[in-house]
Amino acid sequence: MPVSAYLIVSALLFTIGAVGVLVRRNPLVMFMSIELMLNAVNLSFMAFARFLNSVEGWIFVFLVLTVAAAEVVVGLAIIVSIFRSRRNIDVDELNLLKG
């Protein structure tokens, strides 16, 4: 299959993830969408790594996965503490920085 097939899938996934981040109000779903975006990018990297026969793509994927994992840890900890204090995790309620 040509590389463009993989890239199109990656783009579609990325777009779906982006829209998900912007539209959904549940922070867990937003994080899932962010993960989707990150993995779409991973897909692009792997596609190029295979088609260009270079190993740098693999290394980049490692880095991205690590960062994604760390980010999820921190993000989930924040969400849990918000839930504990407010009992409600709608991001639209978090507008104390308004003004």
Binding site: V91, D92, L94, N95, L97, G99
Partner: protein, 669 residues
């Protein structure tokens, strides 16, 4: 000869600084001693150097002392140099001599004033500035002295600064004077442009040699190559300065109002010395004026017009000091008349005699005002001859000198001037100079009339005033202790500090003409090395006798008419305030004219500019910039919604735009 001018300036400077800085803390006696002592020292030094001048040859009577060089810039080299020459010597004697007498007079006159020390400080400052004016050896420091006396005049007219009328008068005097300062500055620019230097040596040919051997070089004619138009312009601008300072038409309006100041100020500044600075200037620059006959015609026109106008206005005044103020304008007109026909020495001669009798007249007026507790309106005076006999007789001496009756000093000087005018008229045959002579005669008649009118209104007839307040100064009306019985019971002659200077000036008003007698014109000869005047008429010339007799009769006619009108109490009947009289009293409406044409439009313009430009454009502009930023920030504040999703949208949009940019312009490969 000795040149002591630096010390003559130093004495009043020390007095001014001492009194200005510490006068408030010193007792009155100390203030009087320092104030009068400074001027006394200056006078003695002036006298000493004058006497030493007499022992050297006339050609060697110029000496310059350069104190320090102020600036050198290209061709211009200006230093504070003080020059002693015959003209400066005479002026210094008058300034310090009459100044000293007035300082002594002020001890008595200002005795009740709480700001006694400030008065003497300002007087000393004035003496300093005036002395600088007459001894400067270049036009720039002349200007410094010129501005200094203008400042002294402002400070002293507005001495009682809590009175709005005094403050307004002081401001008016200063504003009109600045017009003259402007003229002098333009003249200085022109002089520098024409001759590359500002010193009297380089421009007027009045030079001295080195410090050891003063040498006067007649032969220099530094203005030789200068075009006549430029000379005319220089002369005109110098004369503009003289018009403003010496209160000639049309810049005379400040002098009658300047009578708001204390009477010693009127005597010193507005009679004897400051207003004569213009006469001094024309005499000093006589070389320029003589080289420009058109300028002399201008001087003659203004002088004649001022003399006649002021004499007319003086006839209708009700305030005793305003009569004398207009009289000063008129007499200054005479001095300029003499200078207009190149009789500079007769102008200076009249300057000296006028200093004597005018200061005397002001002092007598001050004595009357003081005795009446501040009353200055002649309609409320009368019958004072019984209570103030000595003042009366000295007033008579001053009046006779002013009216130029033989053998008083004023006669010799005024007839020297009129003789010079007649000489010019008959030599050139031009009707204009005959007209000037006629104006001089008419003014002489009016002079005799108005001063004797004053005499009779004040001293003759019966007392027309009300109760007299305690003797104090013009601005307080302390309730008096008279009323029942004789309302004049508290009126008394002035004390010795006021009386002695008056007596000295009375003697001078009588004998002061002896140095300018037609058959022995000592003053003319004394001035001749540096001030080149055309000599006066000799006694062998029939015109001399014509001029003397006609002049004397003109004056006597005025006096007789005043006697007929005002003698023994007819005054209250004779003075009717018809519209013509009120018009003349207001100075023939010139103040009103200036008010309508110049003052009110300028004030309206100022107010208009304030509302239009300052409030709307300038303040509005600065406020507008602030408002702009405030509005902008209000708009931008709406971006901060606090919702993370909104921020996320903006991030995505930004990223998309950047991507688009790189897709369209792929140069960053």
């Amino acid at each position: 000869m000795v040149n002591l001018t630096p010390w003559i300036l130093a004495a009043p400077l020390v007095g001014f600084l001492a009194l200005g800085l510490f006068g408030r803390l010193l007792p009155r006696v100390a203030v009087s001693v320092i104030g009068c002592g400074a001027v006394a020292v200056a006078f003695l030094l002036a006298l000493w150097q004058f006497i030493s001048m007499l022992s050297v040859a006339p050609d060697a009577r110029v000496s310059t002392v350069t104190l320090w060089t102020w600036l050198t810039s290209g061709r211009l080299d200006v230093s504070l140099g003080l020059m002693l020459d015959p003209l400066a010597a005479i002026m210094l004697l008058i300034i310090t001599g009459v100044g000293f007498l007035i300082h002594v007079y002020s001890i008595g006159y200002m005795a009740d004033d709480p700001s006694y020390w400030r008065f003497f400080a300002y007087l000393n400052f004035f003496i300093l500035a005036m002395a600088l004016l007459v001894t400067a050896d270049n036009f720039l420091f002349l200007l410094v002295g010129w501005a200094g006396v203008g400042l002294a005049s402002f400070l002293l007219i507005g001495f009682w600064y809590t009175r709005p009328s005094a403050v307004a008068a002081a401001r008016k005097a200063f504003v009109v004077n600045v017009i003259g300062d402007f003229g002098l500055m333009i003249a200085i620019f022109l002089i520098f442009g024409a001759s590359g230097t500002l010193s009297y040596c380089g421009t007027l040919g009045v030079c001295s040699g080195n410090q050891d051997g003063p040498l006067l070089t007649h032969a220099i004619d530094p203005l030789h190559g200068v075009s006549s138009n430029v000379l005319l312009a220089i002369a005109i601008f110098l004369f503009i300065a003289a018009i403003a300072k010496s209160a000639q038409l049309p810049l005379h309006v400040w002098l009658p109002d300047a009578m708001e100041g204390p009477t010693p100020v009127s005597a010193l500044i507005h009679a004897a010395t400051m207003v004569t600075a213009g006469v001094y200037l024309v005499a000093r620059a006589s070389a320029i004026f003589t080289a420009s006959p058109t300028a002399l015609v201008v001087v003659a026109v203004i002088a004649g017009a001022s003399a006649l106008y002021a004499a007319i206005a003086a006839c209708a005044q009700t305030d005793i000091k305003r009569v004398l103020a207009y009289s000063t304008i008129s007499q200054l007109g005479y001095m300029f008349m003499g200078e207009a026909v190149e009789g500079y020495s007769s102008g200076i001669f009249h300057l000296t005699t006028h200093a004597y009798f005018k200061a005397l007249l002001f002092m007598c007026a001050g004595a009357v005002i003081h005795a009446l507790g501040g009353e200055q309106d002649m309609r409320k005076m009368g019958g004072l001859v019984g209570r103030l006999p000595r003042t009366f007789w000295m007033f008579v001496v001053g009046a006779l000198s002013l009216s130029a009756i033989v053998p008083f000093a004023g006669f010799w000087s005024k007839d020297a001037i009129l003789g010079d005018v007649l000489r010019k008229a008959t030599d050139t045959g031009a009707p204009a100079w005959y007209a000037l002579y006629g104006v001089g005669l008419l003014t002489a008649t009016l002079t005799g009339y108005y001063i004797f009118r004053l005499l009779w209104l004040v001293f003759g007839g019966a007392y027309r005033g009300g109760a007299i307040g305690g003797h104090g100064r013009n601005d307080t009306a302390v309730e008096g202790h008279s009323a029942i019985g004789d309302p004049l019971a508290s009126v008394h002659e002035p004390g010795p500090s006021m009386l002695v200077p008056m007596v000295i000036l009375a003697i001078l008003s009588l004998a002061g003409g002896l140095y300018g007698l037609p058959w022995n014109d000592w003053i003319g000869e004394f001035l001749s090395p540096t001030v080149h005047s055309v000599p006066g008429l000799p006694t062998s010339d029939p015109r001399f006798w014509i001029s003397d007799i006609v002049g004397l009769s003109a004056a006597l006619m005025g006096i007789v008419y005043a006697w007929l009108r005002y003698r023994s109490g007819r005054a209250s009947v004779a003075e009717k305030d018809g519209p013509a009289v009120v018009f003349v009293r207001s100075g023939l409406g010139i103040d009103a004219l200036y008010g309508a044409v110049i003052v009110r439009p300028l004030l309206a313009l100022g107010r208009g500019l304030h509302t239009l430009v300052e409030d709307r454009i300038l303040d509005g502009g600065t406020r507008g910039v602030g408002d702009l930023f405030a509005a902008g920030s209000r708009a931008l504040r709406d971006l901060q919604t606090g919702y993370a999703r909104n921020y996320a949208i903006w991030i995505f949009l930004g990223a998309a735009l950047i991507l688009l940019y790189f897709m369209i312009f792929p140069q960053l490969r």
